[in-house]
C-alpha cells in the first residue's frame, strides 16, 4: 500500500534582487536574478513499512526533497501526499505544515536539540501541544521512550550538552517517535557520528523498524550505510532521480553510468591501495546545470543526444534508469556506424 506519494515535484529557489541589484544588472548587462533548480520533476512512492534510500552528492537535491516530504518546504510544482492528504501548504510566503504524521531526524545532533531545554521537555512538548499525551502521563511516556531508544529514563531532567553525539541522536529519534509518525525522514542521521557510534545507532534503527513497522525515507551519501538499511534506493544527481531500484538489484548491477562511477569512487575496506577509480570532472553548479543529461560532461559513454535531450526515468532490466543507453542509444552509435 502506498503511503507517501511524490508526484512531479520541482523546487526552485530564487535569490531576491533588490532595486539596487536591478540597477546594477542594467549597468553591467548581467542577470543576477539567479534561480537554483534544486529539484526537477521528481516522482517517487514509498509503501507502508518500506525504507527508501535517497543517495547523491552535494547539490543533488536529496536534502531539499527530504525537507519537502517533511513539510518544511513546499514544492514549486507538483504535490506530496501522505495517505492521500497534503503534507504542507504555502500561505502568504510562509509554509504551514498540515500533519504530524511525518517527522524528521536531522544530521547534526549537536544542532538539532534546543541547548537550553531539558531532554524530557524536548521530547514531550510536541505530543503535549498536539493533545497526544496528557500532562499526567507525560513523565511516564518520556521515560518509556528514552528506554526504547536505549537511554535511561532518568536522563529526562538533563540538558543536551550533557550527552554524547550518539546519545543525542537517540534523543532526537525519541522526539520523532513521540509524535507517533507514519513516516520518518532521516537526513544523514548517522553521518556526523563516529564509526563505532554509527553502528550503535544503525542497530537501534533496524531494531525500531522491526518492532514498530516503521516507514522511512533514509537520506545519505554513504552507500554502505544505505545498502544496510534500505529496501529501495533512488540515486540522485543535480535535482533528478537517475536510477531507482531495490537495494539488492542496485548493488548487484548498477545500471546508470553515474551510479557505476559513484560505486567505483568509494574507497572500501580491504580492497587495498588505490583500487578505486574516481569520476572525472567536478559536480556542476545547480545554478547553471549542463543542458541535456546533467551527467554528460563527466560521462564516459556520452553521445550527441545526451547533450540536448534530458533522459526520462524508464524501466530498465531491473528497476528504473534515466539514461539514453537504456532508451534507444546516445547517438554516438550512429556516428560510429
Amino acid at each position: 500500500m502506498t503511503l507517501l506519494s511524490v508526484e512531479g515535484v520541482s523546487k526552485r529557489f530564487s535569490k531576491p534582487v533588490g532595486a539596487v541589484g536591478r540597477l546594477l544588472d542594467r549597468i553591467t548587462g548581467e542577470n543576477s536574478a539567479a534561480t537554483v533548480h534544486a529539484l526537477t520533476g521528481i516522482d517517487l512512492t514509498v509503501d507502508k513499512g518500506e525504507v527508501l534510500g535517497l543517495v547523491g552528492e552535494s547539490g543533488c537535491g536529496k536534502s531539499t526533497l527530504g525537507r519537502i516530504v517533511s513539510g518544511i518546504y513546499t514544492p514549486s510544482d507538483g504535490r506530496v501526499t501522505l495517505a492521500g492528504k497534503a503534507v504542507a501548504r504555502s500561505s502568504g510566503g510562509n509554509v504551514q505544515k498540515l500533519t504530524t504524521a511525518v517527522q524528521m531526524i536531522h544530521q547534526d545532533p549537536f544542532a538539532s536539540l534546543d541547548p537550553r531545554m531539558k531532554v524530557g521537555e524536548t521530547i514531550s512538548e510536541g505530543p503535549r501541544l498536539h493533545g497526544l499525551w496528557s500532562a499526567a502521563e507525560s513523565g511516564d511516556r518520556v521515560r518509556a521512550l528514552l528506554e526504547q531508544v536505549g537511554l535511561e529514563g532518568a536522563y529526562a531532567n538533563r540538558l543536551p550538552h550533557q550527552f554524547s553525539g550518539g546519545q543525542r541522536q537517540r534523543i532526537a529519534i525519541a522526539r520523532a517517535l513521540a509524535m507517533e509518525p507514519d513516516l520518518l525522514v532521516l537526513d544523514e542521521a548517522v553521518a556526523s557520528l563516529d564509526v563505532s557510534i554509527q553502528a550503535q545507532v544503525l542497530n537501534l534503527f533496524l531494531d525500531l523498524r522491526k518492532r514498530l513497522d516503521l516507514t522511512a525515507v533514509f537520506i545519505s551519501h554513504d552507500l554502505s550505510v544505505v545498502r544496510h538499511v534500505c529496501d529501495r534506493v533512488a540515486i540522485m544527481y543535480l535535482g533528478r532521480v537517475v536510477e531507482l531500484a531495490t537495494a539488492e538489484d542496485l548493488y548487484a548491477a548498477p545500471a546508470h553510468p553515474y551510479t557505476k562511477a559513484l560505486f567505483a569512487s568509494v574507497p572500501t575496506l580491504g580492497t587495498g591501495r588505490a583500487a578505486f577509480q574516481p569520476i572525472k570532472g567536478e559536480i556542476p553548479s545547480p545554478l547553471n546545470p549542463p543542458k541535456g543529461c546533467a551527467f554528460h560532461p563527466r560521462c564516459p559513454f556520452a553521445g550527441p543526444r545526451c547533450k540536448t535531450e534530458v533522459p526520462a526515468l524508464k524501466p530498465g532490466d531491473r528497476g528504473q534508469v534515466a539514461c539514453h543507453l537504456n532508451d534507444g542509444g546516445t547517438g554516438a552509435e550512429e556516428i560510429a556506424a
Partner: protein, 323 residues
C-alpha cells in the same frame, strides 16, 4: 633509509577546570620518504592534536610537555620560535580540513601562492607565479594559469582543497600533515584527491601523515596505519596487516562496525559504550570498560608493548585470553 619524520614520545596536555588533561600521550611513530601514514581515530582520540603538535601549533591553555619531533633529523622541539617558523611551510607543511583556513578570501589564488613562495625564497614575482602554476599542475588542476587568477570563492570545495595541497607542496617539503582533508568533500571528489595524493607521494617522495576518522580511506590510501584511542597509539603496522588482521580489540571493533562487511539488515557488531572523557580515564588500559577481552590485569596495569605490528594490549587478538 632514514625517516623523513620521526616522532618520539610526543605528549601534549591541556589545562581545564578539572586539571591537566593529556590529549596526546607518549605518541611515537616514523614515516619514511614517499610513504603515507594514516593516523586513525574517533572524536577525542587525539589524532588531530597530534597533527598540530608535530608543527608546534598548540596554544594556551595547551602545551607540548614532552617528546621529540625529528624532521630530516632536526628536532623541531629544540628550535627557536623563529627557526621553527622557517621550517614550517618549507620542510614540513599542513593541509587542513577546511581549505579556507589556508586561503585568504580577498586575495587571488596566484597572489597568495606567490606570497607563500617568497616568504622562504627570494625570487621574482614572476618566478613565484611560475612555481605556483607548476604546483597546481602537480595536483592535477586543469588550466592552472587561469585558476591562479581566480579568487578562492570562485572555486569549488574540491578545487580549493587541491589549491591548499598545492600550496603545501610549494617548497617541496619532506613532510605534509593532512588533517581530515577530504572529510568535507563529496565521494567522487574525494576519490580524485586520494588518487592524486597517492601519486604525489610516489613521485615527489614527500612523507605524508593523513589524519582521518575514516578507516576505508586509509585502507585504500596509506602504507602504514596508527590507530589512536584516548590519546595513545593502540595499534600500528602496515595498512594491509592492520586491516586484515587487527591485533587490538578496539581496531577489531572499529573494522567490524563498518556496514559493508555485513549482510544488509543484520545487526552490526558494536563497541559498547562511548569514548572515555580524557579527564576521567579508567585505570589501567583506557579501553578496558568497553573491551570484550578485558581481565583483571587490564584494570591495574597500563599495557606496554612495541614491535613491528604492535598493539597496546595485554591480550592482543593473536593469543587466547587467559582463563
Amino acid at each position: 633509509m632514514s625517516a623523513a619524520l620521526e616522532v618520539r614520545g610526543l605528549t601534549t596536555r591541556f589545562e581545564t577546570r578539572s586539571g591537566w588533561v593529556t590529549a596526546v600521550n607518549d605518541v611515537s611513530f616514523s614515516v619514511s620518504p614517499g610513504r603515507i601514514m594514516g593516523l586513525v581515530g574517533e572524536s577525542g582520540s587525539g589524532k588531530s592534536v597530534t597533527g598540530f603538535s608535530i608543527l608546534g601549533l598548540i596554544d594556551k591553555p595547551g602545551e607540548i610537555s614532552g617528546g621529540e619531533v625529528l624532521v630530516d633529523g632536526t628536532d623541531l622541539r629544540r628550535l627557536s620560535p623563529d627557526a621553527l617558523r622557517r621550517m614550517r611551510g618549507r620542510r614540513v607543511s599542513m593541509v587542513f580540513q577546511d581549505p579556507m583556513m589556508t586561503l585568504n578570501p580577498v586575495l587571488r589564488v596566484g597572489d597568495q601562492m606567490a606570497m607563500a613562495v617568497r616568504v622562504h625564497d627570494r625570487v621574482s614575482k614572476r618566478a613565484a607565479w611560475e612555481r605556483a602554476r607548476e604546483a597546481l599542475e602537480i595536483v592535477g588542476i586543469p588550466a592552472p594559469a587561469e585558476r591562479l587568477k581566480a579568487y578562492p570563492h570562485q572555486l569549488s570545495g574540491g578545487m580549493r582543497q587541491r589549491v591548499a595541497i598545492a600550496t603545501a607542496l610549494l617548497h617541496r617539503p619532506s613532510v605534509i600533515i593532512a588533517d581530515e582533508p577530504t572529510t568535507a568533500l563529496d565521494v567522487s571528489i574525494q576519490g580524485q584527491i586520494l588518487a592524486e595524493v597517492r601519486r604525489l607521494a610516489d613521485e615527489t617522495g614527500t612523507a605524508i601523515v593523513w589524519v582521518t576518522h575514516d578507516l576505508a580511506v586509509v585502507s585504500s590510501l596509506a602504507d602504514d596505519i596508527c590507530v589512536m584511542y584516548a590519546g595513545r597509539i593502540v595499534e600500528s603496522g602496515s595498512a594491509g596487516a592492520v586491516i586484515a588482521a587487527p591485533r587490538h580489540p578496539y581496531t577489531r571493533g572499529l573494522i567490524d562496525s563498518v556496514p559493508s562487511l555485513h549482510p544488509p539488515g543484520t545487526p552490526l557488531p558494536q563497541i559498547p559504550g562511548a569514548t572515555p572523557q580524557l579527564s576521567h580515564l579508567p585505570s589501567g588500559c583506557p579501553f578496558r570498560p568497553r573491551c570484550p577481552r578485558a581481565t583483571d590485569i587490564c584494570a591495574t596495569e597500563p599495557p606496554r608493548t612495541g614491535n613491528a605490528h604492535m598493539a597496546l594490549c595485554h591480550h592482543p587478538l593473536t593469543e587466547e585470553v587467559p582463563a
